[in-house]
């Protein structure tokens, strides 16, 4: 129904006023919540798919990063309101990361380009008709005479095929560009195995995981797939778990989740990998082939000298690796992308080969797409600079931002006579364009992706376009037709949709589908076609493997610190920087929002007399930037790190002018075909500036509060409880309750059971509860964005985060452990949300009964009763109640972002307290459906947004009264504990203690 959506916030003052009027017996004409006259606007023709008030789901494919996860898009009244994973999809199996979910804020972004634009007579960029765009591009191509270049970030699929054909027909040049390509991995595979491809990795099967700077949980490879596998192997299964070790100068989120962090000297990783291979090759009956001679050089002692890692640690690592079969060693992330990156990846290939992992956990022949690498783009920059390019088309890429400024890419682009962008946003590349024909968003257009040889995902329009644009596939076809002649003859499809259907028709025929139309419909309903993965080909070590070298990579610059920029978990290569959900979702490691920071080791900071927030000026021969420092114990003292992603000079109001871009410090030499991110030593100078960091954490340490519990795998395997484990470690004295306390708890429990016999509580209501397995939780923060999306949570912006007013109903708390006095540094994470306590302290202090306990075990929060005393928040031991301080509903959802709001959830007004509801709208909706079908609720009918999104499957939600429910089974785990159990609030959320496999110190 085209009724006015529920985004319209109820102004609190007006709400109270009208309530008063209604109470006196005067009925306002147009309803209570507003004194405006509302209109009911009917459809002309009702869509068959859509019933007002009931969500319609469409299957599609995510295009936010090259991974290609499957989507289920929830639409209401003709607009997409929530993205969830497609359970049938082999890559993400129903889950979705924070970046994928934030695609909605790309769709509804206020900074989207609203119509095609071109230069007018005065040379300014102004609105034009789409057809005019086609004409202008065709004219430009005609006069460019084949000197056409296209930079495309589109994934492999029918569009990419069409683009390739189109560029070839025009005699032009196509550069498939991704900022974080896997070029070193591909080149190393060529070197060691003679296979020019990127393999797929099976983390689920690995019994030991070793990563050389590859941040596989956040940005490297296929993060959700990796995390799903990691949770399976590294999550405790009741008996055992895979050990994970992270090697790198900075402990990333992946490093935080590993059991051991080896802070290797930057650039020396290859030596360590070769040393391990050398130590293992002797004991294993594997032919290291041509690499044999090289391995001989890497004795443990030499490696220890190269890397700064003690020989004892190396020996132990080799021994552990040798015992676990199969294991998995990965390398190739930005953190290890220095001049020696190919050698590092090649060394890891040899190590995997020696360990027998190739074919077990490392799979070639899976068709993982790779881009053309930075070398191809660097070539193009040269051509543009020499005036060899007449028309440049940039599609789904923003190279001016993602390539270091020292490449002079922007200047080279300016030299191209006619620049075209198909971007949806006015980004750094698009501002240079003479013609902008914005592509439709992936949720508005037809498309497909082939993220694997055995996976083809379809992309379908789930709603009418928000703004005027043109599917770039259609643009190519229309331009070809306009050019006519032999060019036009090769592109006969009337629309890109027809092109796509033809391609899928051929695909269907090749699989023996009887009817193309049926095949198309079935594929569309399922989201694509998913086959079993092809068998891995047998590989052998090529002769070129002998070229591998473990020499420490040289670094440019003359500064004191090695500079390691890394892709942000939230912004990736910068494309997420215009989405408030991602800006507000704290960095999983530092918990900083909305800002760029410099990570420095606390000891080094003390030495330099720097405190957190002080602004440092970093300089290299290429440039200088200034940013506040963050003291991070998880970084080597000789290294500084910065997240990539902010520092935009364009890209809409949310991104523009926010933070700085660390790439400004880097050189842009293509070297061996890839960009070296770890390539310079920077000079760090103190300035007099200070900027308070917008962190969401209180204290980085637990200070003995026992919020996150963890136990060694040996204890967990014996079925110890947290208390028993602490006792075994000799720490139980303060952690366990005294007899008096135990008696009091028992007494309370009896009293509460007694109370349940009265009133509504006596009836047969479910009791909702949750369990969260900390052995699986990685802190990736997908649940946080899922919660924002589901529950209409407003972002508050940097200024309010600084005042501690963020509204994150679900937050990930991160606590540092050790790192002082020579103890190994580690970190723990815990998702913190309303615990729905049975004995809730918030309920007893609410003077207006807005916070109360429902019969089905929820800690209810009735917004329309709440008068905003904030007593409940003061009394909440978990600090999970959030006060709505400002007119966030208006500030956070400017048009058209408000179209994303979930119509099932009230948009809270200023002045009320709000918090996690256990997704009560999903509970009520499931109950309504069960009632319509005259059946009881089954386990799994209600899945909260956080549990749905979690790639690790750490969160389980259900009815605690149903003995067969998954949540009851999970809560029976011996590792279960309640946070702050000693204050006796009886939470409904049970955490299962983290399990670690740490070398005995």
């Amino acid at each position: 129904m085209a009724d006015e959506h529920r985004s319209d916030p109820v102004d609190r003052r007006r709400f109270l006023k009208v309530l008063g009027v209604a109470g006196a017996g005067t009925a306002a004409l147009a309803g209570c919540s507003t004194d405006r006259i509302e209109k009911l606007v009917p459809y002309l023709v009702q869509s068959e798919d859509e019933v007002p008030g009931i969500a319609t789901w469409y299957a599609s494919t995510c295009t936010e990063c090259p991974t290609g996860c499957g989507l289920h898009v929830r639409t209401r009244e003709g607009r997409a309101v929530k993205l969830e994973g497609n359970p049938d999809h082999p890559i993400n199996a129903g889950t979705l990361c924070a970046r994928g979910q934030a695609a909605l804020q790309g769709l509804y972004n206020p900074g989207r380009i609203r119509f095609p634009m071109g230069r007018n007579a005065a040379g300014d960029i102004a609105e034009i008709l789409p057809l005019e765009g086609v004409n202008r591009l065709a004219d430009a191509i005609r006069s460019a005479n084949g000197k056409v270049a296209v930079v495309s970030g589109a994934g492999r699929g029918t569009f990419d095929d069409l683009l390739g054909r189109w560029v070839t027909t025009l005699g032009g040049r196509l550069v498939r560009y991704q900022a974080f390509d896997h070029e070193p991995v591909r080149l190393a595979n060529q070197m060691v195995f003679g296979l020019s491809e990127v393999p797929a990795h099976d983390f689920a099967k690995a019994k030991y995981i070793l990563s050389f700077g590859a941040d596989f949980l956040e940005t490297w490879g296929s993060p959700i797939e990796n995390q799903r596998g990691f949770a399976k192997s590294h999550g405790f299964d009741g008996q055992t778990m895979a050990k994970a070790v992270y090697v790198g100068p900075r402990m990333s989120l992946t490093g935080m989740n590993a059991d051991q962090w080896i802070a290797v000297k930057p650039g020396s990783e290859a030596s360590l990998a070769l040393g391990l291979a050398s130590a293992l090759a002797g004991s294993r009956n594997v032919d290291a082939g041509s690499a044999r001679t090289v391995l001989g050089e890497y004795t443990v002692d030499r490696v220890a000298t190269d890397t700064g890692v003690s020989a004892e640690v190396i020996r132990k690592l080799a021994e552990e690796l040798g015992r676990a079969t199969p294991s998995l060693v990965v390398a190739g992330g930005v953190g290890g992308q220095h001049a020696g990156a190919i050698d590092l990846c090649a060394a890891v290939n040899i190590l995997n080969h020696v360990l027998g992992n190739v074919g077990q956990t490392v799979h070639f022949g899976r068709g993982v797409p790779s881009s053309d690498g930075y070398g191809a783009l660097a070539d193009l920059i040269g051509s543009m600079d020499r005036g060899e390019i007449g028309v440049l088309i940039v599609h789904e890429a923003n190279p001016v931002f993602t390539v270091p400024k020292s490449s002079k890419l922007a200047d080279a682009i300016r030299k191209v006579p006619f620049k075209v962008s198909t971007s949806m946003f006015m980004d750094e590349t698009t501002v240079l364009a003479d013609l902008i024909v914005p592509n439709l968003h992936a949720l508005e257009r037809w498309d497909d992706l082939r993220p694997r040889a055995n996976v083809r995902g379809l992309i379908q329009p789930v709603m009418q376009p928000v703004f005027s644009g043109l599917n770039t596939g259609d643009l190519l076809l229309q331009v070809a037709r306009k050019l006519g002649g032999t060019v036009g003859a090769g592109f006969t499809a009337p629309t890109f949709e027809a092109e796509l259907k033809t391609a899928w028709g051929d695909f269907g025929r090749s699989r023996g589908a009887a009817d193309a139309d049926t095949f198309w419909r079935q594929s569309l309903a399922k989201g694509g076609v998913y086959d079993d993965a092809p068998a891995s080909p047998a590989v052998s070590v090529a002769a070129t493997a002998a070229q591998v070298s473990g020499a420490v990579a040289p670094l440019g610059g003359d500064g004191e610190f090695v500079f390691t920029p890394y892709p942000s978990s939230m912004y990736y290569d910068g494309r997420g920087a215009n989405r408030p959900w991602l800006l507000e979702n704290p960095d999983p490691v530092t918990k900083i929002t909305w800002q760029t920071w410099i990570e420095i080791n606390p000891e080094k900071a003390r030495e330099m007399n720097i405190r957190e927030g002080e602004i440092l000026r970093l300089s290299t021969p290429q440039g200088a930037i200034e940013a506040p420092v963050y003291l991070y114990p998880g970084i080597r003292p000789d290294t500084l790190a910065m997240p990539i992603g902010l520092g935009h000079t364009a890209f809409g109001d949310y991104a523009k002018g926010r933070g700085v871009n660390p790439l400004d410090l880097l050189g842009a030499e293509a070297g061996k075909g890839f960009l070296s991110y770890v390539s310079v030593k920077v000079k760090a100078e103190k300035t007099n500036g200070y900027k308070k960091l917008a962190k969401t954490e209180g204290n980085p340490r637990e200070l003995g509060r026992h919020i996150t519990e963890a136990m060694p795998v040996a204890h967990a395997a014996k079925g110890m409880t947290v208390e028993e484990s602490l006792k075994a470690d000799g720490e139980a004295e303060e952690a366990s309750n005294t007899k008096l306390e135990v008696d009091a708890l028992q007494g309370f429990r009896t009293a509460q059971v007694e109370q349940r016999k009265y009133g509504a509580y006596a009836e047969d209501f479910p009791q909702w509860g949750m369990s969260i397995d900390l052995a699986k939780c990685t802190g990736c923060s997908a649940c946080v964005t899922a919660c924002y999306a589901e529950n209409n949570i407003p972002h508050v912006g940097e200024e309010y985060v600084l005042r501690g007013r963020e509204m994150s109903w679900m937050r990930i708390e991160r606590y540092y452990e050790g790192g002082e006095n020579g103890e190994p540094f580690s970190a723990r994470v815990i998702p913190m949300l309303c615990q729905h306590c049975d004995n809730a302290p918030c309920e007893s202090v609410c003077p207006v009964y807005a916070s109360y306990h429902t019969a089905d075990g929820l800690n209810g929060q009735v917004y329309n009763r709440c008068v905003g005393t904030r007593y409940c928040s003061n009394n909440c031991p978990y600090k999970v109640r959030y006060f709505n301080w400002s007119a966030y509903a208006k500030l956070a959802f400017p048009e058209p972002l408000n179209l994303q709001l979930n119509p099932d959830v009230t948009v809270r007004a200023r002045g009320v307290m709000e918090k996690c509801t256990f997704c009560i709208q999903r509970i009520r909706s499931a109950q309504n459906q069960a009632r319509l079908e005259d059946r009881p609720l089954k386990d799994g009918d209600v899945v909260t947004a956080c549990a749905q999104a979690c790639p690790s499957g750490a969160i389980v939600f259900g009815n605690m009264k149903d003995p067969e429910s998954r949540v009851v089974k999970a809560k029976q785990d011996r590792r279960g504990y309640h946070v702050l159990e000693e204050i006796n609030v009886r939470p409904a959320v049970t955490y299962l203690a983290k399990v670690f496999d740490r070398a005995e110190a």
């Binding site: 129904m1 085209a2 009724d3 529920r6 319209d8 916030p9 109820v10 709400f15 209604a22 109470g23 006196a24 017996g25 009925a27 004409l29 147009a30 309803g31 209570c32 919540s33 507003t34 006259i37 509302e38 209109k39 009911l40 606007v41 009917p42 459809y43 002309l44 023709v45 009702q46 019933v51 007002p52 008030g53 009931i54 509504a760 109360y852 429902t854 019969a855 089905d856 929820l858 209810g860 009735v862 917004y863 329309n864 009763r865 099932d904 959830v905 009230t906 948009v907 509801t917 009560i920 709208q921 009520r924 309504n928 009632r931 319509l932």
Partner: protein
Amino acid sequence: MRKLLVAGLVTAMGVGAAILTLARPSTAQQPAKTAAPQPAPKVEADSVLAPRLTVADSAGLKGPKQPVFFRHDIHAGQYKIQCQYCHYSVSRSSEPGIPSMQTCMGCHLVIGGTDSTHRAEIKKLRDAWREKRPIEWVRIHTLARHAHFPHMRHIKAMGPAACGTCHGDVQRMPQVFKVNNVNNMGFCISCHVARKVNRDCSACHY
């Protein structure tokens, strides 16, 4: 069936009115009346023919004037078209649904009206359809945004003809007006008390 509906309707209206005028919660203590048989209302109970009215009369009728003088009393009363023919999703969705223009034209492609008044109003519809312009109805019942009312559960519990409990005897309304203030929570609660169903705040407020 219909008789039951009317009976239920009068009670509900009575309770609603009591709340409106007295604003006293004590109404909650008179639940038994719902089940008791009630006398039929005096509004021409035997006549199914809707009164003859012209568009000029609509100004004198209760309720807001609509862009088309659509007669619920003719459609639902005289011709006994089921509510759910047009409000198609009421038994399965929280939203009852309003008919698309196509639904209107399904009949009015053929039915042009019996007198000049009807013909004039149906012409408005046909013109709008031709111009692909939806008719913007003035909304009568708008539930406050912080309350959720699942229509389907009420239809499930009270039957497909229960609409009148809240919306009044629409079958006899030439122009729809608000009989009950659906935003008066007492109106909801009195019924929930009488029927001994969930009165938890979070049943509706979330």
